[in-house]
């Protein structure tokens, strides 16, 4: 959807290396979220942000950290990638938290 972009779209990395995924929005929305999507598990919340420098953990936050230094950017970092973190990662934004989310196109991450 217009207004939210994720980068990179695809990435292959080695076990133990750090990886950072970027989510960029032009909608000036307050809320931003990182989800991972795996077969059999659906979409699970990793971390979310409710403002600049305001973040909190989601359901599957172990092994991940986030940062939000500007309204438009929300970064997801895998400090030391593991094979279990191979997944499709989606960023989402929401204006009020009570409205529907707009998702980015996703990042397919493979950890070998």
């Amino acid at each position: 959807d217009a207004g939210i972009t994720q980068s990179p779209r695809h990435k292959v990395t080695e076990t133990g290396t750090p990886v950072t995924l970027r989510c960029h929005q032009t909608e000036n929305h307050r809320y931003m979220y990182w989800y991972r999507q795996d077969p059999g598990h659906g979409l699970r919340l990793i971390h979310y942000s409710y403002g600049v420098k305001d973040t909190d953990k989601g359901e599957v936050s172990d092994g991940y950290s986030v940062s939000r230094s500007k309204t438009e950017d929300f970064l997801l970092t895998l400090e030391s990638a593991t094979s279990s973190q191979t997944s499709v990662y989606f960023c989402a934004i929401s204006g009020t938290g009570l409205s529907g989310y707009t998702f980015g196109s996703g990042t397919r991450l493979t950890v070998v």
Binding site: Y31, G42, L43, Y48, D56, F90, A92, G97, L98, Y101
Partner: protein, 112 residues
């Protein structure tokens, strides 16, 4: 924690047949949102239901929220090949901060 159960996991229909997916919870749902994800795509917001017993329609799609707010359903009348994809329900348990918890989705395939 909060869990949202979605059934069936898969549904195969002939074009023109109807389709229904159900979303259930053992606890009271807050607000239900419905999303569609096309193969290889990202989730796209369809609708949000807030009130007990609420019914909303979008062309051939009918969304219902149960009287006790413990279940919801999406019904598609006369399916078309463009309806192919995975349909997710999500409970907005986080209130004003969002935090959707997703069901695992129902994957719909339509045979022309």
């Amino acid at each position: 924690g909060q869990q949202v159960m979605q059934i069936p996991q898969y549904q195969h229909v002939q074009e023109g047949e109807d389709f229904t997916t159900y979303c259930n919870s053992s606890t009271t749902l807050s607000n239900i949102q419905w999303y569609k994800q096309r193969p290889g795509g990202h989730p796209v917001f369809l609708i949000q239901l807030v009130k007990s017993g609420e019914v909303k329609k979008q062309k051939r799609l009918t969304f219902q929220f149960g009287e006790a707010k413990k279940n919801s359903s999406l019904h598609i009348t006369a399916t078309q090949t463009t309806d192919v994809g995975t349909y997710f329900c999500a409970d907005n348990y986080g209130g004003s901060q969002g935090n959707l918890i997703f069901g695992k989705g129902t994957k719909l395939s339509v045979k022309p």
